[in-house]
């Protein structure tokens, strides 16, 4: 799929593109909900990452409710005469259900290259604690 304004010409790598269509990654249904989210955890934190290209931090409203994280925002379309429009525009909202209690005061959010990362530290009382037992 070459973006073409008006000139027709032979596409040298057209077969390549056809192959790519078949080899789409498994998350190809990512248009189902916007923005696409990754949810992960390690021993210390939960991480929620979202692809929100073009957003500034003050375009986003991130709310931590009792057991859910709410990400709201709006993508505004560019102004002009459109030849092609594939980028989503409009208001969006996603709710993430948190599976463990988090330390609400230490939740951080950052935006790098259009990817939002929300880091939610797990509450102290649910972290695995290692107790060393002396064997005599």
């Amino acid at each position: 799929m070459v973006l073409d304004f008006n000139t027709f010409y032979a596409f040298p790598d057209r077969f390549d593109r056809l192959v790519e269509e078949f080899l789409r990654p498994a998350y190809g249904d990512r248009r189902m909900a916007y923005p696409p989210l990754n949810f992960s955890e390690d021993e210390e934190n939960l991480y929620v990452r979202a692809e929100i290209p073009g957003a500034e931090m003050n375009d986003l409203e991130i709310t931590l409710a009792d057991k859910t994280l709410l990400i709201k925002g709006e993508r505004k379309p560019e102004q002009g005469k459109y030849f092609r429009q594939e980028r989503p525009a409009g208001a969006f909202q996603r709710v993430v259900r948190l599976n463990v209690p988090v330390d609400r005061d230490k939740v951080r959010a950052g935006l790098v290259n259009g990817i939002l990362t929300v880091t939610l530290p797990k509450s102290e009382d649910i972290k695995p604690r290692r107790v060393s037992i002396d064997v005599k």
Binding site: P25, L37, S40, Y47, G54, R87
Partner: protein, 120 residues
């Protein structure tokens, strides 16, 4: 034209969502390339096309376990055919917050000249 190196094959190819629009001063192209850092963006101006590619930076650490994955790392690739309407020397590119903005100015003397025919 197909100059993919072997290591590039290991990353899944992603096609950036693209807007193309026209304003009075020229054409504006916007591509969503979330996760791509400026240093990883490659713009290749060829004879009749502008090839864009960019690899995403890895954000997660090795210790993380993923419970839900709806996007991943990869290499964004897109090619724009440049028409004769575009002034190639004036192309500008800006990458901000994961969106690549390309400005393709119009060539000045593109307006078709109309020849008036007057009958005696």
């Amino acid at each position: 034209m197909n100059e993919n190196k072997p290591e590039e094959k290991s990353l899944p190819a992603l096609r950036p969502s693209t807007d193309i629009l026209e304003r009075a001063d020229g054409y504006w192209v916007y591509m969503d390339m979330p996760g791509v850092d400026r240093k990883d963006l490659v713009l290749d101006l060829r004879e009749s096309e502008l090839a864009v590619s960019g690899k995403t930076s890895v954000m997660a650490s090795d210790k993380e376990r993923f419970l839900e994955v709806q996007f991943g790392s990869g290499e964004y690739r897109q090619t724009i055919a440049l028409s004769d309407l575009v002034n190639r020397a004036g192309i500008k590119a800006t990458l901000k917050n994961g969106v690549l903005e390309l400005f393709l100015p119009k060539v000045e003397q593109i307006k078709p000249r109309r020849i008036e025919i007057t009958a005696d």
